[in-house]
């Protein structure tokens, strides 16, 4: 079965939908967690520490976090590889363009592909910046995420990269959520409006929620 799913264009879309929804779920949790930054360094750092102790005493320190990380990496890779292969297929299927260009209504295709690439690059930067600290602008301190976040958003490029990525995320989620519903066969004529509304609300909340943090730093609410 696994092979037939992976071999089929519809199957790969299913992989994208499922991995996308996993990431979406993670993002919602992540975004809510981020908002704790508005309640001060103590609460935020405590939350970050808690993330590593979830499941104790059954789980060892950081086990749960690593499980989540592995699931996320698998999801990101599956999502990206499917997207890459499907895009290759799509481009091969339509090698020559029409001479008569018309304004394409298909903003979704283009923003999904470019948006996906932007988000992929962002994830790499984001991990190097705030998880490993490799490219962090200030002095990265393990176990002090509050200060790390403030440092990142104290640079102009940190804000630009982040905000651009979050806008891309909004667009990506907006089409992606609805699209995943179609791929998984849960869309229907009667449900279409509701699905589109949920997609819009999700996109808006995620973007607003995530962007709130750099805005907070910039305006001095978080410092």
């Amino acid at each position: 079965m696994a092979r037939t799913v992976w071999d089929s264009s519809v199957g790969k879309k299913t992989v994208m939908a499922v991995s996308g929804l996993i990431m979406l779920l993670y993002l919602v949790v992540h975004m809510i967690g981020n908002l704790k930054i508005f309640f001060g360094a103590g609460e935020f750092n405590h939350y970050a520490h808690w993330l590593r102790t979830v499941g104790e005493p059954f789980m060892h320190y950081e086990w749960t976090l690593w499980i989540i990380r592995v699931v996320l990496v698998v999801a990101v890779v599956a999502h990206a590889v499917s997207a890459y292969q499907l895009s290759r297929r799509d481009i091969r299927a339509r090698p020559s363009k029409y001479v008569h260009k018309k304004p394409q209504a298909s903003y979704a295709t283009r923003t999904m592909r470019w948006g996906g690439i932007i988000l992929g690059l962002f994830i790499v930067w984001h991990i190097l910046d705030l998880t490993t600290g490799t490219v962090h602008s200030g002095g990265f301190q393990e176990g002090h995420p509050y200060q790390n976040v403030v440092d990142t958003f104290s640079t102009w490029y940190g804000n630009v990269i982040y905000i651009v990525a979050m806008l891309a995320l909004g667009l990506h989620v907006r089409h992606g959520f609805w699209s995943a519903a179609q791929t998984l066969g849960v869309g229907s004529r009667t449900r279409d409006r509701a699905l589109k509304a949920v997609a819009n609300v999700l996109a808006l909340l995620l973007t607003a929620g995530f962007i709130a943090v750099p805005v907070g730093v910039m305006t001095g609410v978080v410092s």
Binding site: V10, G11, D90, A93, R94, S96, K97, K102, S106
Partner: protein, 249 residues
């Protein structure tokens, strides 16, 4: 009306093509688009030039032969087949671009004529109900709920013209394939082959080199028979169901 036409000319499958410009005069707004091309071709023949080749047959919007991209739109600006498009949709002095369906699964044969046999092979892969002649039970033996019959009909209306593929930025044949899957899978007569049908047709669709679906909706907008985009969703659902069921066997 006087019009300038820019038409894709390509001698054969192997030759390179290019747009050629022609002027046509004395076009009546009551003419169909194809009758306008007839007028051009009559002139070209008399001038000893090769007339523009294009597929057409019934000229009443049902055979699915006609297949022109007009000003970037499959079948032109109206939601209908090219043969049912009338010149009243254009104005005097317009420049009109006429191109063939473009998709690697639909190679150009000549000028505006493309090879759509990939569609036939998708149907051959499973777009039927196995009912050998003479084996049929009495027609009223299995009532079909009206909503199901209507759903089947709505999808069975597909004329196989390929506008969905032509309009899709990915050259995908999902709308075509889903129309047949949905037509047959909703009927009780189609139930025994429900799983194999969708799996085999989708597999063939992929093999033919059509692109994948990114749900841009261009196909449904171009479809002269109004097959809805949600048709693809229904097929996805059938495909997932079939994949699960077949895996369990």
């Amino acid at each position: 009306m006087k019009l300038t036409l820019r038409v894709w000319r390509q001698k054969n499958a192997d030759a390179d093509g290019a747009m050629s410009t022609y002027e046509v005069d004395g076009i009546s707004s009551d003419m169909s688009f194809l009758e306008m091309l007839d007028t051009l071709n009559e002139e070209l023949i008399l001038r000893g030039e090769d007339p523009v080749a294009f597929d057409h047959d019934c000229r009443e919007g049902i055979c699915g032969a006609c297949s022109l991209v007009i000003n970037g739109d499959a079948h032109g600006p109206e939601r209908t087949t090219t043969c049912q498009l009338h010149m009243r949709s254009f104005s005097d002095g317009d420049t009109i671009d006429v191109e063939p369906w473009r998709a690697s699964a639909f190679p150009v044969i000549k000028d505006l004529v493309v090879d759509r046999s990939a569609f036939d092979r998708i149907i051959q892969a499973g777009g039927y109900i196995t009912a050998p002649t003479g084996a049929a039970p009495e027609a009223h033996a299995t009532p079909v709920p009206k909503p199901d019959a209507d759903f089947a009909f709505e999808h069975a209306e597909c004329i196989g013209c390929g506008a969905c593929v032509a309009a899709c930025p990915n050259g995908a044949a999902m709308l075509f394939t889903s129309a047949k899957v949905n037509h047959l899978n909703v009927l009780p007569q189609g139930a025994p082959e429900r799983e194999t049908r969708v799996l085999d047709m989708v597999e063939q669709m992929d093999e033919e080199g059509f692109g994948g679906c990114t749900l841009t909706g261009e196909c449904a907008t171009a479809c002269p028979k109004g097959i809805p985009l949600v048709s693809i969703t229904s097929m996805n659902k059938e495909w997932l169901r079939a994949t699960r069921k077949v895996a369990r066997r």
